[in-house]
Amino acid sequence: MRVTEQSHFASLVRRIQSHQGRLQEAVAEASTGVRVQRPSDDPLASAALQRLEVSAQRHQSYLRVQTTMQGQLETAESSLTSGVAVLGDALELALQMSSGAHTEESLQASAERVSLLKESLREIANTSHQGRYLFGGVADDQPPFDDAGGFQGSTTLRQVEIGEQQRISQLSGEDLFSVQGESLFAVLDELEGALAGGDQAGASATIDRLRGGVTSLTTGIQTVGNHLTTLEHARAFSEVIVLDAQRQSDRLEAADLADAASRIQMATTALQASAQAAQQVKGLKDLLFKL
């Protein structure tokens, strides 16, 4: 094949352009640390990256829901624990006042104490978290128990998705604060009335129902505990998914810096060699013209 000026020139230019292209590519990778800047850089990797991104976003969303729900459940757990203590006090009073001789003043003071305990329990039953009443069902924009302790919330309970195919439900205020279908506030009213009227037998009749109330609230605490455990598992699962997606994304997307540095070195050396070759060709031509 004849070697002409144009083929010399074209060949040199093409080589220099090719080395420059490789150099630019390697420098871009090294400076950004990212191998896949656009989907077209690697369509297969990009498709996988998009799937990972969607999965990570979804589980990050679940993590935020879980954080909110954890706050609600912890508040409910704390309230119900206080409720158990309040009912425990009422039960103790009922036990004390239903046996032995007690003065009328003593019974009257106990009745007043029960009234205060009832008020405490009503406040507990109307616990709110970030402006929403926890035991009101879907009617969570207003206190679920009125001043007399009557339930005015909703028996419809909201379910919240905390993970894929995993939901937890609200606690029913009506079920928690009742025993055998009777409101705990009615039982406390009965105890207060019996004590105020000096009816020790009447006070004694409330003991089993108060025990039932304690059991109801304790069961509620256990339910909350179960929800919190479910939440913990769901959180751990979501965190693993997010971390795994991040790890896989890094593997697919991130540039191999050592490889990029090596390619920069190679392309720079090749560019220098091409420049030297161009210089030598020029020298030979100059010599030819002198001859």
Binding site: V3, T4, Q6, Q50, V65, T68, V160, E161, L291
Partner: protein, 463 residues
């Protein structure tokens, strides 16, 4: 005396021949680096040829003629067309890709995830003001992203139409110049005048045209050429150029080209190949498909979301209203998608409850809305699947076209190198030939000096 006079003429002919050859060689050396220049050659021919009288006959020159390789030029034209097609397809499909995904993490796919995320957060407190406003903000951003993507694709469409018009103008100008040069070459050839440089100029123009649309060059008599499309339609024929145009009747749905002669109506050009072909393929396939996909997605998503929202009940127990407003048909749905102002101003109208008794904190309808994320929307695919399929398809088109353009570029460079090795100027070769011609010139000069001396000696003897 007759013999001496003949010797004198032989010397003079050789002198002139070498002078012509040296001038041609110098011209080659001067143009060694001129793009598109083809080396010229002068042939020394014995006077009288093989059938002339035996003995000293002298020489004369033929040429100068440009060295050309018709076969390689044809291959280069094809290679340029292939490169133009794939490079343009890669460049404009990358534009569509940018329109769909301006940067990583900024596209419809991420917006729809943020939209469903805010809906999921609202499920923890469906009657909450903050949650409601946050959801409405994401809904507004999603509608905005639909409009923005549609506008970006529209800008790509306008850019492609502008590029197509620019290319068509450039091709038409080149075709006209080729036709003009063709007539000049024919005239020069008829008058036995050198036409090498005119041919070089015409070849450069044909190379330009061949990058923009596929052409076959058919050589005619007296140096003329015809330019024919792969469909057999003549672009330049008999020194007359036809005009390429855009079929405006088919815009904006499809980009097609026409060919019009001086005496005939516009006819479809067919698949033009080259940059025009790459542009048309991107416009008609990639862009049109993605615009249609975006509209279908916007229409199906908004219609289905509205239907589900209307099936729910708001905080006051009233039936839900449409959340989005959009055009009545899928066409243009993405650019017309808006969050309804009435709801945007009042989160209490968000219908998350499944029945009036569930209001205000019920979320059974919200769960139905949330389920839309994983349900088929368009052609059996979910929103994300459909959107990602579009992005991946465009990415594959860009990547494949880029690889094809690189392969076509390498192949073209090889062909150009082969052509340059045949038609290009080798300085070494030209210097040797120049030195040879200088010696020949000196020898011819000596023949003339010798014949002059002999002539003077003979005259002095006679005297």
């Amino acid at each position: 005396m007759a013999g001496l006079s003949r010797l004198f003429h032989i010397g003079q002919g050789a002198l002139q021949s070498h002078q012509t050859r040296m001038a041609t060689l110098q011209n080659n050396i001067a143009n060694a680096s001129t793009p598109g220049y083809r080396r010229q050659r002068v042939d020394m021919v014995t006077l009288g040829g093989h059938f002339g009288e035996v003995g000293l006959r002298g020489v004369h020159t033929r040429g100068p003629d440009s060295i050309r390789s018709e076969f390689l030029m044809g291959q280069i034209h094809k290679g340029q067309g292939d490169f133009g097609f794939h490079a343009t397809r890669s460049s404009f499909a990358a534009g569509v890709e940018r329109a769909m995904m301006p940067s990583a993490g900024q596209h419809l796919g991420t917006n729809v995830e943020a939209f469903f995320d805010s809906l999921r957060q609202a499920s923890t407190n469906p009657g909450g003001e903050i949650e409601g406003r946050s959801f409405l903000q994401e809904a507004d951003l999603l509608a905005g992203r639909f409009r923005e993507t549609a506008a970006s694709l529209q800008r790509e469409r306008v850019a492609m139409e502008g590029e197509a018009q620019g290319l068509v103008d450039s091709v038409n100008q080149n075709l006209q110049e080729i036709a003009d040069l063709d007539r000049q070459i024919k005239q020069a050839t008829q008058l036995s005048q050198p036409a090498g440089e005119l041919m070089d100029q015409r070849d450069r123009l044909i190379q330009d045209v061949s990058e923009h649309l596929s052409v076959t060059v058919v050589s005619g008599d007296q140096g003329s050429v015809d330019l024919i499309t792969p469909q057999g339609r003549a672009l330049v024929e008999g020194g007359q150029a036809r005009t390429v145009g855009i079929d405006s009747g088919r815009l904006p749905d499809q980009l097609h080209f026409t060919l019009t002669g001086a005496n005939d109506n516009a006819q479809p050009l067919g698949a033009p190949g080259g940059t025009l072909g790459g542009l048309a393929a991107t416009y008609n396939d990639t862009l049109a498909t993605e615009v249609e996909r975006l509209d279908a997605l916007a229409f199906a998503f908004a219609t289905e979301f509205n239907a589900r929202h209307e099936a729910g009940f708001d905080r006051d127990g009233n039936p839900g209203e449409a959340l989005f407003e959009l055009s009545g048909t899928a066409q243009g749905a993405a650019s017309s998608l808006h969050l309804r102002q009435e709801i945007s101003d009042d989160p209490a109208l968000l219908a998350f409850a499944g029945d009036p008794g569930e209001a205000p904190g019920g979320s059974s309808n919200l769960q139905d809305l949330l389920a839309l994320h994983d349900e088929p929307l368009v052609n059996g695919a979910t929103f994300q699947e459909s959107w990602q399929a579009g992005l991946n398809e465009v990415a594959r088109t860009v990547s494949s076209a880029r690889q094809s353009a690189e392969a076509a570029s390498a192949s073209l460079a090889q062909l150009q190198e082969m052509e340059a090795s045949i038609t290009g100027v080798s300085l070494e070769e030209e210097m040797i030939a120049l030195s040879e011609s200088q010696r020949g010139f000196e020898a011819a000069l000596k023949v003339m000096q010798a014949s002059d001396q002999m002539f003077s000696s003979l005259l002095s003897l006679k005297g």
